[in-house]
Symmetry: none
Subunit: 201 residues, 4 copies
Amino acid sequence: MRETTTSTPAGRGRGAARSERARQAILTSASELIARDGYEHLTIEGIAARAKVGKPTIYRWWPSKSALIAECLADDTLMQEDFAPPDTGDLLADLTTWYRDIAAFLGDPGNAALIRSLIAASIDNPLVATELTQHLGAGPEALHGRFRAAVAAGELRADVPIEALVDLITGGIMMRIIDRTGLRPGDSEAFVRALLGPLLT
Amino acid sequence: MRETTTSTPAGRGRGAARSERARQAILTSASELIARDGYEHLTIEGIAARAKVGKPTIYRWWPSKSALIAECLADDTLMQEDFAPPDTGDLLADLTTWYRDIAAFLGDPGNAALIRSLIAASIDNPLVATELTQHLGAGPEALHGRFRAAVAAGELRADVPIEALVDLITGGIMMRIIDRTGLRPGDSEAFVRALLGPLLT
Amino acid sequence: MRETTTSTPAGRGRGAARSERARQAILTSASELIARDGYEHLTIEGIAARAKVGKPTIYRWWPSKSALIAECLADDTLMQEDFAPPDTGDLLADLTTWYRDIAAFLGDPGNAALIRSLIAASIDNPLVATELTQHLGAGPEALHGRFRAAVAAGELRADVPIEALVDLITGGIMMRIIDRTGLRPGDSEAFVRALLGPLLT
Amino acid sequence: MRETTTSTPAGRGRGAARSERARQAILTSASELIARDGYEHLTIEGIAARAKVGKPTIYRWWPSKSALIAECLADDTLMQEDFAPPDTGDLLADLTTWYRDIAAFLGDPGNAALIRSLIAASIDNPLVATELTQHLGAGPEALHGRFRAAVAAGELRADVPIEALVDLITGGIMMRIIDRTGLRPGDSEAFVRALLGPLLT
DNA sequence: CGATAATCGAGACGGTACGTCAGGTCTTAGG
DNA sequence: CCTAAGACCTGACGTACCGTCTCGATTATCG
């Protein structure tokens, strides 16, 4: 679990400690409800009821629905999947593999809807965007790392703007989720070719 | 104005005709409010009040807030800008120009917030996504056309997957808006190079 | 029904009229609940639920719980009893009769509790006090009237301060309710004698 | 200080003794807050915060807000005034004096509001009513005593129902506070005359 | 004198109710 | 028959307090 959010119990001077039981129940309930009903139908009241917790307990620790979702992601409660390109030495093949995995995941309409919900949450909390891209493997460790390795291996030109490359490829996935076009596994090669293959004559 | 939505006046038998005044007032009010407060704070009630219209008048013609927004876009009430790459014969230069224009537009935080709102609206109505990409110049006429012209001119390989290319480049922009990283004009070349330049050694 | 409160439908320009069904259901539910649970346990939420009405419908028409109670009283929904001294020509006998009726009424602990609740409501809304004293017969028509008649009949001295007399006698009842001492029917004569009988030697 | 409430330190076996500092701080804070904000806005949480005391410390020693108020009164923390009729041998004059003092006290709207708050507290705890009437001089020692002295002095008939007389006169004051009519000093004579003067012809 | 135990401050907890906002539907009056 | 106005029921919002419980520290008595 990456701890990225603000809801740390802090130093605790005196007084009862924060209830780990409540925290877990809230994260779990939020995760189940967003997966079932989508971000738009997610309510603090519903989460509190399902977690058998008072609403104030949620408001005490999270300033907003989206912050709560961010922690669900950071805590791996909401999405177990963590995509990352392998490193076989063949960049095109590795990216295609990675892309295909994601496409397979998004083939399930439930998963696609979940990611759509997470994009919605990202809009009022960039932290969610960060967590989401992490899970998709587009974080600094995974995709960035693979590109840097390719540069080091002499597979990719040294002056390639890796940041831009990552945003392009991640954004390409997002677009297909937003406009509901979807990602077919066969698209994987098209995307990778469009990105890395020789385009200009 | 492209007419893409469902709110056609229809055949009409008897009775008063649909009030064009009301329609315009609603679209204008919705546009002003979303620009001012963002999609999350946009309410039907607020629109009705500002347009001096009853709520049912809105519900009669639009099934949802996002459908209303889609029509605002189609009607050019919400966004006057219509980006499109020029065609000077030099694809890289043309794309860079287009990208730079968009980056300049998004340099204004208000505009960035507006687009972020439109992405939010896109999530519960793909029609908004369509309209939005149109306005950004990523629709069939503009960006696709430019790529097809490049293929025809022999500037781009014939087997390039244009669809994927467009989604990559559009998605790249979206990503930067969602995660609030922003697009600096200087990024334009990086993006275009990352997409079209020679990457592999 | 005396109409003393502010919740008049007003002029009504256009739009749906105020629902009489809702108004009645609210008054009835409030009356039942205050009689059952007391003013302290009376909640707007509970009234709304029992009346099958939305909370805003209550807040639209009454500014506070106590204003609602005042209207329950004015509407004779909460208390059907309306005490008033008879006029047989014998003031002492008439007052004793009246007092005895009230004592009998308050003999039922439920009634005593209800009046106690109404005193509580009176404290944050003097309108309730007015309505309550009306019902007890201490309003201008009943007790005041009887005293004026006694003066006219030469039964009572002309310079008697009627206002003070009424407040004394009403307050005497209130005291016994507040301190839970209670009013026994036998007290009636003691009170009336204490008030009107020859005290000084 | 009369000790009438339940908060006795009890036998105590071992362990730390009850903190007198905490007790005083709580009584003082409660008194200040009820005087400032009224009984309806008085909260245990607010008292605890102002007294720099934990909520359980309050709940440990007092079962309810009203019990705490009762002790504030018994402890003379909340009201320093203790009214009592003098005994000059002239009952009418003495009562008038006493009444006038109370009327003067209630002339200050803050005092009137305080007494109103105490009546509210009396409703859910008759002990408060007892303490309140004590402070107003309507307890067994003061007003009752004065009446008994008058009987002994032959000023008042021996068969006068003193209890009822006291309730009438106290209730008369209460009424004026509850219905916010107020007591003007000039009313004093009217009340006393209404009570004791020759009424019947 | 050290163990025992009650108290104290602090504050988190599961709850209930608050008063408000907005949703989407309906009813009425006017044109 | 459409439009404006607006009332209706519903449901969620975020907040304030409730009364209880759980800490860790302090304090005083008892064995």
